[in-house]
Symmetry: C2
Subunit: 406 residues, 2 copies
């Protein structure tokens, strides 16, 4: 391969840049000439918004800084390629740009939707006998890509969530029963509860853990929820509950729609998914007369690189490297996957993108302790290794430093 | 002094436990016998809810862990002593407990309201010729205690805010103008804007900084705000604005009351102060048709010990030590204050509690750049030294560990 290009797509994570770093590292090991970056994914690529990563990453300190930089260094996009039939002009444009820059392989770091881009481009290349190779690199805090054991980005989000939940539990415990407070923490994940489940990791010798966890995999029942809360407040001064933003009742209503009618749509008439914790905290306050607090981690949970998991960073780098290695072996139309053995030794492989794009992996129901609204040991054993280790920020003037595009 | 007691009061901070550590350390240096802790402040003290801190802190590793533990290790309260006149029985009860435990000095770590407790107790002791000494130790993320240059707790909250704002700005910049997003970040501070002002610290070589800052010291004008936002979105794809939870219009209305009428009171008819960012984000979405996001740091900003400022931790320990030293010199009815010179060398002193209790210090108006809704260099120079340095958590199983009461 002469030159290659890498892009980032979809919601960013704390370690999405470590995969860019891995792509660059392996390319240099293999003697590849130029490693280009597409700015704002395939959308920017179509405008030839392309940079030479060598201008940044030939300096070791920048490479280290990139691994500690949150969000998409290259910029991201949410752009789905149209079906090939009838859109050949667009596809030809993409291949013309690849040819113009003598790019032999394209790497795309993303989740379910982004893997669709790799599927479409590799399909088109096959149909039209184009020589370029297309490889997907997994990334999503949601951890919902199939086949791979887990997704880079999830471990760091889980570490942030568990750490913050521990701190919230300590804070919420500062007053005694005379100022009893019920805290509802809203965590990302519209369809899959992997992130919300990570709240269970807070529990340990020095932390009582959250008092209940509600995942979108299970139909939400407000009566059961309130019964549980009322039972908890009899037992404890401080109650902390983790809920997924995507909670829905059995009739398909989002929890945030259980509150005031005017909150359920945004100014365009779209359903807004924020506000699940606020809705539940308000309902609890009305029902119990107690002080409640709603906390949303919002984008902090995907951007908090200052608390990233070293395991996650290393794996994100590793899958980036693997993608380049396998493209160099001639593979295309694949996504890199991770597999673990019982000692959490991770091996990487590749898998046909057609079985991955647009498929969502949810939390197995048998890992959910329905009787106690808690995660079972199986989940803890699965998630614990993912949050291990730290890669500390490089602090300057008291703040973590980042690498940004010129 | 034979024995002493220390208590924590009001909203906790990331470093309030470092002041407990400082009290213990100096007491041991001075050969004081027992250092008691009151559980849940003066309220717990009245129930004789008292522990022996030596049972925890004689181990060096616990001392180090205490400095890394968020929230009030001893538990906190929000309890204001009643006026002495007519409540002599209550005051006698307090002094009886002090005598029972042979306690010669009481130390109270807190903010404006908590310093009132020291004022009342030292006043009562003076009037009734009691020998016990009472010293206040400053603590508040709000940084609104008078006389002292700044308050322990503020620096760590400011460091958390500036770090998180940096990460939010990176995250919000990941998409281009086709997915322009305006992010409104709500920061604590009902009357004083010190915490919100700390958002200005995010700006640097690797960060463009927030686009506007709105403090409660300035009457909020919705028209000016919207004009500013509309001007910003013409210039930039990503707009991030920091607002104080306590923003009020010139006619005294909280910003969260500008939205739907039903949001302005909680279930008890109390005005709710959360929701300022949500209200503004909704108004911006309606006015511009653009995607908006509201983020509230909530209790995370006072509990994130994993990102505490080493300067803050050291100073919190220092003021604890100073309080014991000065009580040992016979001082009473004072709060420890900090003073700085031009090179940010901090010296400690004590100050008459009557000039401190119940007084609030706001951000000087001349530090606010009204034309640009930004902080002036004077504020940056004031706040920068407070966030310097880190005391890293002791990680176990991927998470920071804490010291908790048995």
């Amino acid at each position: 391969m002469k030159n290659i290009i890498v892009g980032q797509s979809g919601g960013p994570t704390a370690v999405i840049n470590s995969s860019v770093a891995g792509v660059y590292k392996k390319a240099k090991e293999l003697g590849i000439d130029k490693v280009y970056g597409m700015v704002h994914g395939i959308e920017g690529f179509l405008k030839e918004n392309i940079i030479d990563l060598g201008e940044y990453l030939d300096k070791d300190e920048n490479y280290e800084l990139l691994k500690r930089t949150p969000s998409a260094f290259l910029g991201s996009c949410r752009y789905k390629l149209p079906k090939i039939d009838g859109n050949e002009e667009l596809y030809e444009k993409i291949f013309n740009i690849l040819e113009k820059y003598k790019i032999d392989a394209l790497f795309y770091i993303g989740g379910n939707d982004s893997m669709d881009t790799i599927k479409m481009l590799s399909d088109y290349a096959k149909e039209h006998h184009k020589p370029q190779l297309f490889m997907g690199i997994p990334k999503t805090i949601d951890n919902d890509l199939p086949i791979t054991d887990h997704c880079p980005g999830y471990g760091s989000a889980a570490k942030y969530i568990a750490t913050s939940i521990k701190e919230i539990i300590r804070d919420n415990s500062s007053f005694d029963k005379t100022r009893q407070t019920i805290c509802v923490v809203e965590i990302m994940g519209r369809h899959a509860g992997w992130l919300t489940a990570a709240a269970a990791l807070a529990k340990g010798e020095d932390c009582e853990g959250v008092d209940a966890i509600y995942l979108p995999e299970i139909d939400f029942d407000l009566d059961e929820f309130l019964t549980n809360v009322k039972s908890l407040i009899k037992k404890k001064a401080s109650v902390v509950i983790a809920v997924s933003e995507g909670l829905k009742t059995s009739d398909g209503k989002f929890v945030c729609e259980l509150g005031d009618e005017d909150r359920k749509v945004d100014s365009f008439g779209h359903k807004q998914l924020s506000g699940c914790a606020v809705t539940l905290a308000n309902i609890i306050a009305k029902e119990t007369g107690l002080k409640t607090r709603a906390i949303e981690f919002s984008t902090l949970q995907r951007a908090a690189t200052h608390l990233a998991s070293l395991t996650d960073i290393n794996e994100a780098e590793m899958v980036g490297m693997k993608a380049v290695e396998e493209a160099n072996n001639g593979k295309t139309g694949m996504m890199v996957i991770m597999q673990r053995n019982d000692n959490y030794q991770i091996t990487t492989d590749t898998y046909d993108i057609h079985n991955i794009a647009n498929v969502e992996k949810k939390v197995p129901l048998e890992w959910i302790d329905l009787d106690n609204n808690m995660m079972k040991e199986d989940f803890i054993n699965y998630a614990k290794p993912l949050i291990m280790g730290e890669l500390l920020p490089i602090f300057k003037n008291g703040l973590p430093t980042h690498l940004i595009r010129k």
